[in-house]
């Protein structure tokens, strides 16, 4: 119920630009154009790209990472970072593997996973929000610690023998080519969209990232919000761990190695300011799909995974550098 028509003499208009101009000048729009371009390049490059089963398979290489990326986006928007996410996956997966050996069944496995993930997140949260330590260092420490525990437990061995019902999370299909993970990805994306853009919690997160002191003075419980964000990231890492473990059917301590940097890349590519204070969930969704399509497209061309990382790296620097270069060039022309 907007009532913009009650304008008086000195009143200030609500919006500087219309929602439409806002949308087409946004980062998400630029990213969407990149996504469409990559889509058509892929269609051109390989006849196998448009096969629905191939496309369905391709979603696996971003859905799990993206689920963590949504939570990571909120953490980064609040001005912090969590580099321990992949290690939380390793620890959660190890715990599940351990419980499987004791004969624990699927529902309890998932519950335990969420609990362990939340506990890991709470540990980070206490150190960062409670003690006020820099999150980049804390989470480099817990990165070593959490995966280190997995190594202590497993060494060079592996857990397997997950129950059959457990396979559904990472291998199940809901309908035709629609996997369970795709549905979960969509639901999680929607939940995080609402959380960040439609709730006062999300508003607080953005305010904290812009200026934590001013946010505190405005009555926001800064430490509490940050603590909760780390717990949330821990939980999302656990969800990803369930899907990944289910898909692989086994647990090694090196599971999901290096994911933390890929996830941060995804978030930054999605237009979230690495310095905090700005970012959107739709941006992260598109970034996840872009990264997934690049990986899949190059895979169809038999380009090895490691070379794809060059593209991801170039994309990361390129999409951030390009607007800066354009802005500079425009200023130079202007003056």
């Amino acid at each position: 119920m907007s009532s913009t028509d009650t304008k008086q003499g000195t009143s200030i208009p609500d919006r500087l630009r219309s929602p439409f101009t806002r949308a087409i000048t946004s980062w998400e729009f630029l990213l969407l154009c990149v996504a469409i371009l990559i889509f058509f390049l892929n269609v051109q490059a390989s006849p196998y790209f448009l096969d629905p089963w191939n496309l369905s398979d391709a979603t696996f290489n971003f859905t799990e990472k993206a689920m963590i990326a949504f939570a990571m986006a909120l953490v980064i928007i609040s001005g912090e970072i969590d580099l321990s996410v992949a290690s939380i996956i390793a620890l959660v997966s190890t715990c599940m593997g351990f419980l499987v050996q004791l004969g624990v069944d699927t529902p309890a496995l998932v519950a335990a996973a969420i609990l362990v993930g939340a506990a890991c997140g709470a540990f980070n949260g206490v150190l960062v929000a409670g003690l006020g330590l820099p999150s980049i260092v804390v989470t480099i420490g817990t990165l070593s610690l959490f995966r280190g525990i997995a190594y202590i437990v497993l060494g060079d061995k592996a857990y397997s023998g997950y129950p059959e019902s457990f396979a559904f999370f990472g291998q199940g299909y809901v309908w035709w080519v629609i996997t369970f993970e795709m549905v979960l990805f969509a639901v999680v994306a929607l939940l995080f969209y609402v959380l960040l853009h439609r709730t006062s919690f999300g508003r607080s997160t953005i305010a904290i990232g812009n200026n934590p002191t001013a946010a505190l003075f405005a009555g926001i419980r800064v430490a509490r919000v940050k603590f909760f964000l780390f717990v949330l990231t821990g939980i999302m890492s656990a969800v990803a761990a369930v899907c990944l473990t289910s898909r692989l059917g086994s647990t090694r301590p090196s599971i999901a190695a290096g994911w933390e940097l890929e996830i941060v890349t995804m978030v930054v590519l999605g237009g979230v300011n690495i310095l905090g204070g700005a970012g959107t969930i739709p941006g992260v969704v598109i970034a996840a799909i872009v990264m997934g399509m690049v990986t899949f497209g190059l895979g169809l061309l038999n380009v090895p995974g490691i070379v794809m990382s060059i593209f991801i790296g170039l994309l990361l620097i390129g999409v951030i550098a390009l607007p800066i270069i354009i802005r500079r060039a425009r200023q130079r022309v202007g003056s």
Binding site: L127, P134, I136, V137, L145, A257, P304, I310, G313, I320
Partner: protein, 325 residues
């Protein structure tokens, strides 16, 4: 109020001695000169990298691409050696250093000229450098038998009773010490990290100084690249993968503030040695090497809690009463 306080470096040195003493109670041989110089030699590469990382962190930046830089330069030197075995090794070391500096240059330029946050830049170059190794090597290994004997011998050769590898670390330590305490450029690193705005007013070019720090860390990574490949006598895509975090860990344990402007050469070296001692002591006292990661993780967390306590600014104390307590 007591004005008696330990410097962080002294405290860390005590912790290191205590750690060695602890291992000594279980295994006296560990504390022998021979064994300890072995630990130092084994930690040399980490020390060299930590020194470079420190220069970058002092300026409020971070270089996550060091390990990829090391691997790329290592691969290049190995392939160069395999292709032209006659190339003198000292020249090869210089080439490694220049190549590393060039890669550091790319990071530095992106940070300086385009103002992209260093963590983003080096996250990008981390993956790019790694990918390039695959492109140039086609995923193939360069094995020991393809390398010339001189290439492999240099780090193992002894000079004044110490392996040349250790001498590389010692020269780097001395060089960094002089640079950081006695040159204008070195002091500028502290100024830029301590207070970038104020640095501008004193005539220091903040971007340029950061660029220099990245070139320095790149050059040291390059040298470390040759040392790594020649020492282990193998080069492949994944060497030193994830080592960038160990380097940051050494700096954090060494008391170098991630917020910039605080840190010393002694701290970085002690931080690296701390991790080195743990790594070397575990097999000696019969603990599975799989414990190493968890222990160094705990060390980082303890160190950062400790650093934060000693860095915490004492607010201005207004009451006279409180001052006298």
């Amino acid at each position: 109020m007591s004005s008696f306080k330990f410097s962080r470096d002294v405290l860390l040195a005590f912790a290191l001695v205590a750690l060695v003493a602890l291992v000594y109670t279980r295994f006296p041989e560990f504390a022998s000169v021979k064994s300890l110089s072995g630990v130092f030699n084994d930690t040399s590469i980490l020390i060299i990298l930590a020194l470079g990382q420190m220069a970058v962190i002092l300026t409020r930046c971070i270089d996550l691409s060091m390990a990829s830089n090391l691997a790329l330069v290592g691969m290049c030197t190995a392939m160069l050696n395999a292709a032209i075995p006659a190339l003198p090794i000292p020249l090869l070391v210089v080439i490694a250093m220049l190549l590393g500096a060039l890669l550091g240059c790319i990071n530095g330029l992106l940070v300086w000229k385009l103002d992209i946050p260093p963590i983003v830049v080096t996250l990008g170059t981390l993956t790019i450098f790694r990918g390039i190794i695959f492109l140039i090597s086609d995923g193939q290994w360069v094995n020991a038998h393809e390398m010339s004997p001189a290439f492999k011998a240099l780090p193992r050769a002894h000079f004044l009773g110490l392996p040349v590898l250790s001498w590389f670390a010692i020269v780097s330590i001395l060089g960094m010490f002089v640079l950081l305490t006695r040159t204008a450029q070195g002091r500028a690193l502290y100024a830029v990290g301590g207070h970038p705005n104020a640095a501008v007013y004193t005539g220091i070019n903040v971007g340029r100084t950061r660029f220099n720090a990245f070139v320095l860390s790149g050059a040291l990574s390059g040298v470390a690249g040759y040392l790594w490949v020649s020492r282990y006598a193998v080069a492949y895509v994944d060497i030193a993968a994830g080592f960038e975090l160990d380097v940051v860990a050494a700096c954090v344990i060494g008391g170098i503030s991630i917020a910039g402007g605080i840190g010393s050469v002694a701290g970085a070296v002690l931080g690296a040695l701390f991790l080195g001692v743990i790594k070397n002591a575990l097999p000696v006292v019969n603990i599975s090497p799989f414990w190493q990661q968890a222990i160094s993780g705990s060390a980082i967390i303890i160190a950062v809690i400790f650093n934060a306590r000693s860095e915490r600014r004492v607010g201005r104390i207004i009451l006279k009463k409180a001052e006298q307590v």
